[in-house]
Symmetry: D3
Subunit: 143 residues, 6 copies
């Protein structure tokens, strides 16, 4: 079993604000991330897949197929977007677009169509990590 | 003469849109950066000062004084902000908050109060660089 | 379950020397790290916590509370310190301040007061890693 | 139990081409990596070992012994080499020198002589990772 | 005047061998880089252009136009290539494909068509740098 | 004219303390760097040389000769050392081992024997930079 990790980047803006909380609670819980007009980040997404290398091709996954899948299902939805307004996961309210919730949204998007893109179960989605800054990273095993 | 470079980071959102241009021109010129609801970046600011080390202290600058100056004059104004709405340089229209214009705004802020903070001309502000992403950097000599 | 990793930095000096060994054994076992007057490193500490994001705030941990806890329990004790003389774990002899032992000391400090700082068990301390140089890293699961 | 990871680098060239496939299949499966005259990479190898620190020396492994072992068994075989022609694992045909197969070859080389170099089972080889580019990494648990 | 630097990457193989030298001289001068079957690198190319930001668009250069120009004139020629055989600058003999000579070849390619791609002299090509490894970099002012 | 930059690393400890100043002045000027028992850093030294590539070898400098020169004249003197006690430039008092003064000491060491190591003036020493941390760097042109 080999794990392949590929890295992708996108830039987006967000504001952390939960209407259920008071203004003061929002400021206390989210700090500067609650600033009213939003701010943004260069996110780094690492996608890890696992599998046994094909004995003939010597490959565990087709990197071009993986890139197309991530581009179509993640990058197109979030890159150069305002997450609060343009991402369907956050536009309707509910949890605010913290990087935790963004990582969960990305995992759900990947799992939703994974078996269509990789029907033979190869490779298997293993885990993702999402960096908001070089010093702040979230990891999530799949599924 | 020694040059000291210190790095600072801030996160902000912006949208590149020039009202003087047509919608189509805006899309052609700014591409994804023209997306209507904005996006954001982790900016990395490098500030370079130059001077002769003091023969007794062995220092070319007081790093704590430099950090306080950058914090007060740059970070506080731009960190976790929407540049189009909250930065005085861009809120009133004129040029859009491209990273070029943001670098120019930072240089002007630094030069405006430099002689108050470092009255003996030591250290001298030499240049700044501003990274929008790891692959896109702007440099500006001062003055 | 999501894992959040935050990175912290501190600079310290140490000398690897075990009085139980002969001078020659010390030199053979620790090499240049046994140089008599000590040397130092920029250490990078990564602290990983695990938990389920709060369904309302969308957060797995309060990053400010985590930073305060690490600052109080680790950074203040080791930053800009001589580990052999100023760190209580090593000042009294015993094992020398190898990065292995320093990582163990950091884990023990974190576990000692964790339940006071995060009484509801959220987040859980999952693992730490400590880099002595970019090419030499130690990882430790907790507890 | 502590895990120590050390990083090593080597530069090599390869061409991905499987004679069993047609020319068209080779181009489709390997893309630019199938270019007829080869290309190359700066590979980054991370070797992770695990063990309990010795209570007297405070060390989980002798880093110099580990470096000598990796130099002798991996770097000497692959650094500044053409993998298709000069690496015994690939010179005879079989699977092409994908980074997956190269990682497997490195693991086999390490396991083959591990117990001679570290006869007391300390440290234990835990996992390796091999980066072909900063955005493409393969991980393999051992054994 | 602002300088914009953008980074590009390509992977190539080469062998340093000068037929004018004896076998022994080749080994002494080029060391492991003279290994007979070649090796390779992940090259990182930084292209710096200089200009005055357009007062209306706020841009010093069109990044998409610059990317297309570098892709067409440099990346297509060298990425996933064997420099000794496939690069017209080195295929005919003469100086071997050292990174110095590769940097000179890139500069000449850029200058040759620059005025066609950027006819109004905006932006001006200022300098390039080419990294062979993270510890070995070549810089060249233009012209 | 091409500039070649090679990077070297060493680990050392120091304490910033100027006996000419009072205890209070030392604490105010040097902050945590004045802590009585010292601390340390992983220093990164970049050495830049300039020259015209040799038309036959295609090289601007012999990288092995440069490495030997830096190893002999800089690394051996400062790596795994206590700068206050073991470096001749600082052991006798005078200016404290700030990174500014360490960079000046390195430049003087390089210039002192440069013409013996590279008698034909090729390559010329152009500049050095010395990083104390990833966010704090000093540059010095030579001579």
């Amino acid at each position: 079993m080999i794990r392949l990790t590929r890295r992708y980047r996108f830039a987006a803006s967000h504001r952390l604000h939960q209407p259920v909380f008071s203004e003061e609670e929002n400021r206390r819980i989210y700090g500067k991330c609650n600033n009213p007009f939003g701010h943004g980040h260069n996110y780094v997404l690492s996608v890890t897949v696992a599998g046994v290398p094909d004995p003939v091709s010597g490959r565990v996954a087709d990197p071009k197929a993986l890139d197309r899948f991530i581009e179509k299902n993640v990058i197109r939805a979030f890159d150069h977007r305002n997450l609060n307004i343009e991402a369907e996961e956050f536009a309707g309210g509910g949890a605010p677009p913290t990087t935790e919730c963004l990582a969960l949204a990305i995992r759900d998007r990947l799992l939703r169509d994974w078996s269509l893109a990789f029907p033979e179960g190869a490779p298997r989605l293993d885990r993702i990590s999402l960096e908001e800054t070089p010093n702040n990273k979230f990891e999530l095993r799949c599924p």
